[in-house]
């Protein structure tokens, strides 16, 4: 597959039509979270287990050379041969030479993603060596001439009928498409391969420096076959799999099977240290000999990552693929679309950048929507979306922005006055298509975007033009608050901005809207333009701080996150860095702040008798800010009956520019969300993020017009008498 110039939009369109894939992934993503949680029931605190893996792997990579040297020395001391391969070519040359020297004709392989990464089997075949994959899923995709679409379940995208077809072709007879039968056919066929093979090649789930052992975690038993039957065993292991001690393996083993397949343990967990005996037939007699053991450590870009202060984090990956199982985009399109040469999903995007180059990363990195669901399950607690964002930044630093984006960011968004006058112009320009607050009839070329979702209209009068009217004079204010509205609330949902004013003023606080505030910078930094973001940050700090407020309030979690991130963004700036840091301490999210103030005043008590309401947890509200209780308490305090929706914290599909650029992916996510809202029977859907409001309001308008969308601030404001 040529992965250099991909037509991602076309690939997505094709995959969305693939019912086998969508059925399989859809069902799996439904059952996975519950199955995983059940697997951890007897394991103690999941966070403690994940932290133990993170810490151990993090500590290992910080002294990788020392750990590697120990591993090599211990394995060598016991009689294994260790070779460090700098890349795929290096490994393949070494292995082919070894096969020639040892007269190896037939190789059986158990699962190794590293060998997939370097297309090893193809190379062996080209050199006259028969290489057979023995993991059932790997064998299927090898017969299909495909790449794995999932690290743990490589053939999840195929169904029994397709598998039966591939088997029929390979075995040259009709194989019936019954799963148990297909498995038995594979067993029979591959058993002969195991018995005849001269060499077994395995991957490794871990390599132990303390005694030079490798560990294999498998279910089918092929790992044990490959390391037991052939007279030579070759291990291909990436440097990221090395761990210091035997005991450290326990940390991985308590998490890996539970995370990967929701098993407490796989059928086989095998550890091998040094060469072991083999039975070899000599002159028609079976005799015991020492099996040769070769260990090949594969670099192929890994060591570069290990030296990188930020990216050494990928060494915390244990290849459990839990991140894929919860990813809303992966579970829609699978790993052939959301993936590079070998590795799928968000972690795959990062690995691809290092192992296969930035060009491949660029082809599909946009499919990470930054919802951070993966970070809640990752065995090694890797900040996958954060690392992807960092790669985007580096890409821009290296190659610059595409022309149009550059123009928009550097000339329009960073110029507040120009940006805002364009937004005002848009309010006029959209008139013919607008109905109520949503655009219902769009020009044809935009129709695709609005098919299942009405796009919001730019308000006639932005929040910034309403300040005079909504500002109340507060005698002896309790606190002075600067409100940072964000563009969406300013220009699309000014009424919600008014609600924020009302709620805070009702608490006896003076609220100011600093005129000079502009875009928080999130959409800009998300595309890698740090320079423009820094410019915006300085302008916002200036605008907010010159009011000398006690507290800075944001009612949008994404803006809130950006404001807090300014300190990191400007840390090299001697003038603005300290200011950003000082400001970060004043920034508060609206719901959590108001809940706290209500609590002080005894107003956070659960009311009753109100209509049913449901609440959507925005990705950034819940997983970045960690706020999920406060908005719920506020809704109940307002007297509403809160009905939880299914998957309340699953992304609504907006995610900034993604929701517009990849409408075809955004829509299925939105549909699922709307259906979950429908099932609650609530009259009102709420959230506390203006980005999500755009998406949800648009979806409700088209798909569930009876249900209204409100920000938590709106609900609270309605309870306050003027």
């Amino acid at each position: 597959m040529d992965r250099k110039t991909r037509n991602l939009k076309q690939e997505i369109a094709d995959k969305l039509k693939d019912e086998t894939l969508r059925g399989a992934l859809g069902r799996f993503s439904e059952v996975y979270p519950t199955a995983r949680a059940k697997a951890y029931e007897n394991a103690g605190d999941i966070e403690t287990l994940r932290e133990a893996v993170r810490q151990m792997k993090h500590e290992t990579v910080s002294r990788l050379e020392e750990v590697t040297a120990r591993f090599e020395a211990e394995a060598t001391k016991r009689g294994a041969k260790v070779f460090r391969a700098k890349d795929g070519d290096d490994l393949k040359a070494y292995l082919v030479a070894l096969c020639k020297e040892k007269k190896v004709k037939r190789v059986v392989k158990s699962k190794s993603m590293a060998s997939e990464e370097i297309d090893l089997s193809k190379h062996l075949e080209a050199n006259g060596i028969t290489a057979t994959e023995t993991d059932l899923g790997e064998w299927i995709i090898a017969l299909a001439g495909q790449k794995p679409s999932h690290m743990v379940m490589p053939a999840i995208h195929l169904n029994r009928f397709q598998v039966a077809d591939y088997f029929s072709k390979e075995l040259d007879r009709e194989i019936s498409p019954e799963i148990a039968h297909l498995v038995q056919e594979a067993r029979k066929e591959l058993r002969q391969k195991f018995l005849q093979a001269d060499m077994g090649i395995s991957g490794a789930n871990f390599g132990i420096a303390e005694n030079g052992a490798v560990g294999l975690v498998t279910n089918e038993g092929n790992g044990r076959m490959v390391t037991t039957l052939p007279r030579i065993h070759v291990v291909i292991i990436g440097y990221e799999k090395l761990i210091p001690t035997v005991k450290d393996a326990a940390k991985i083993l308590r998490v890996l099977p539970r995370n990967a397949t929701a098993q407490l343990m796989t059928s086989y967990m095998t550890m091998i240290s040094g060469p072991t005996p083999a039975m070899v037939k000599r002159d028609d007699k079976w005799v015991e000999e020492e099996r040769e053991m070769h260990i090949i450590l594969l670099d192929n870009g890994r060591l570069k990552a290990a030296k990188d202060e930020k990216f050494r984090e990928i060494f915390q990956c244990v290849r459990c693929a839990a991140c894929l199982n919860v990813c809303p985009v992966y579970t829609l399109v699978g790993g052939h679309v959301y993936g590079g040469h070998t590795y799928a999903g968000g972690i795959g995007a990062i690995l691809t950048a290092f192992l296969h180059g930035m060009n491949q990363f660029e082809q599909f990195h946009e499919l990470c929507i930054g919802c951070r669901r993966c970070t809640t399950v990752c065995a090694g607690k890797i900040d996958i979306p954060g690392l992807i964002e960092e790669l985007r930044i580096r890409k821009v630093q290296e190659k610059g922005l595409p022309f149009l984006l550059k123009q928009t960011f550097q000339n329009v968004i960073s110029n507040r006055k120009l940006f805002h006058s364009l937004l005002r112009l848009a309010a006029v320009g959209q008139k013919p298509f607008q109905s109520g607050n949503l655009i219902r009839h769009l020009p044809l070329f935009l129709a695709g975007m609005a098919k299942d979702r009405s796009l919001p209209a730019i308000a006639d009068k932005p929040l910034r033009d309403r300040i005079g009217k909504i500002t109340k004079k507060i005698e002896k204010p309790v606190k002075k608050i600067a409100f940072f509205s964000g563009c969406t609330m300013d220009f699309v949902f000014p009424e919600t901005g008014e609600s924020v004013f009302k709620v805070l003023q009702d608490l006896g606080m003076e609220v100011i809207f600093p005129e000079g505030q502009s875009c928080c910078g999130k959409p800009v930094v998300a595309l890698g333009d740090v320079e423009t973001t820094q410019k915006l940050a300085r302008a916002n700090i200036k605008a907010l701080e010159e009011q000398n407020p006690d507290v800075i309030i944001s009612a949008c979690p994404t803006c809130m996150e950006s404001l807090q991130h300014y300190a990191e963004l400007l840390k090299e700036d001697p003038e603005w860095g300290p200011k950003a840091e000082a400001m970060a301490k004043k920034v508060r999210e609206f719901c959590s702040f108001v809940a706290e103030e209500y609590e002080k005043r005894g107003r956070l008590k659960k009311g009753k008798g109100g209509p049913k309401v449901t609440y959507h947890d925005s990705c950034h509200m819940k997983r970045v800010l960690g706020i999920d209780k406060a908005p719920r308490q506020l809704l109940e305090a307002a007297g509403y009956e809160l009905v939880e929706m299914k998957d309340s914290d699953k992304c609504c599909g907006m995610s900034g520019i993604f929701g517009v650029k990849y409408t075809e992916l955004s829509m299925p996510m939105l549909e699922q969300k709307i259906s979950n809202i429908r099932e609650t029977g609530a009259e009102i859907a709420t959230c506390a993020c203006s980005g999500c409001m755009v998406q949800l309001q648009g979806g409700l308008d088209k798909q569930l017009p009876g249900v209204r969308m409100k920000h938590v601030a709106d609900i609270l404001a309605e309870k306050i008498k003027d």
């Binding site: 399989a24 069902r27 799996f28 993991d135 059932l136 899923g137 299927i140 379940m153 490589p154 053939a155 999840i156 195929l158 169904n159 029994r160 799963i179 148990a180 297909l182 498995v183 038995q184 594979a186 067993r187 058993r191 195991f194 005694n211 030079g212 052992a213 560990g215 279910n219 089918e220 038993g221 044990r224 076959m225 037991t228 001690t245 035997v246 005991k247 393996a249 326990a250 083993l253 308590r254 397949t261 098993q263 407490l264 343990m265 796989t266 059928s267 086989y268 967990m269 095998t270 550890m271 091998i272 240290s273 040094g274 072991t276 005996p277 039975m279 037939k281 079976w286 005799v287 015991e288």
Partner: protein, 204 residues
């Protein structure tokens, strides 16, 4: 017989193992389709095994001895029923692929996961364990540790070099449509015969 560690029991963590963990071990291992038979005396174990081999119509067996099996007189019992039993490594190498049953001993069980730990440095042990469709293991019912961590407290001092690991139920796959299918490359049945009687000799 070559072993990774000559006396695993020596490394059992004091106060952290015992028959009180057997019930949890049994529940967990049954949950992953293992069959469990617990007997009080070693001599009762032979009857259980004979029941199994009769039901499975076993004609030939590959077997690696362990102290429990010896005390139970397993090999002799099988042969008395006319079953061909291969016990030498060259015979095992020749017949493991076509044998109806593989029989071996394991060192301890893990309650957390329902796994058994086997020292597989000996090549015959591994062939017996992985090739036949039915694998029967003998386990002292008091040799149960609570979890993976305690298992590694034993493994760490014992695993200087060699081959060892966990076996947790029969071989399985879900690679086609995520449908769980038992019995891929390894055995489709794993039966655990647990014996309460303590046998001298340390290991299983």
């Amino acid at each position: 017989m070559r072993k990774t560690c000559d006396n695993w029991k020596r490394h059992f963590p004091a106060g952290k193992f015992g028959p009180h963990l057997f019930a949890e071990f049994e529940m967990r291992t049954k949950a992953v389709s293992s069959e469990v038979f617990r007997v009080s005396r070693a001599t009762d174990a032979a009857a259980v095994l004979l029941g199994l081999v009769e039901a499975a119509q076993v004609k030939n067996a590959v077997l690696v001895e362990s102290p429990l099996q010896e005390a139970a007189g397993i090999t002799a019992a099988l042969r008395s029923r006319g079953i061909v039993v291969y016990t030498e490594s060259d015979q095992i190498a020749a017949h493991a692929d076509t044998a109806d049953i593989g029989i071996s001993g394991v060192e301890f069980g893990i309650a957390e996961t329902g796994s058994v730990f086997q020292d597989g440095y000996d090549i015959a042990t591994r062939l017996v364990t992985i090739l036949p469709p039915l694998h029967v293991v003998f386990l002292p019912s008091s040799h149960i540790v609570p979890g993976i961590e305690e298992a590694f407290e034993i493994i760490t001092p014992g695993f200087e070099r060699g081959y060892c690991g966990f076996i947790t139920g029969p071989s399985r796959t879900a690679d086609i449509e995520r449908v769980l299918t038992i019995g891929v490359h390894g055995p489709s049945r794993l039966a655990i015969i647990a014996v309460d009687e303590e046998i001298q000799g340390g290991n299983a």
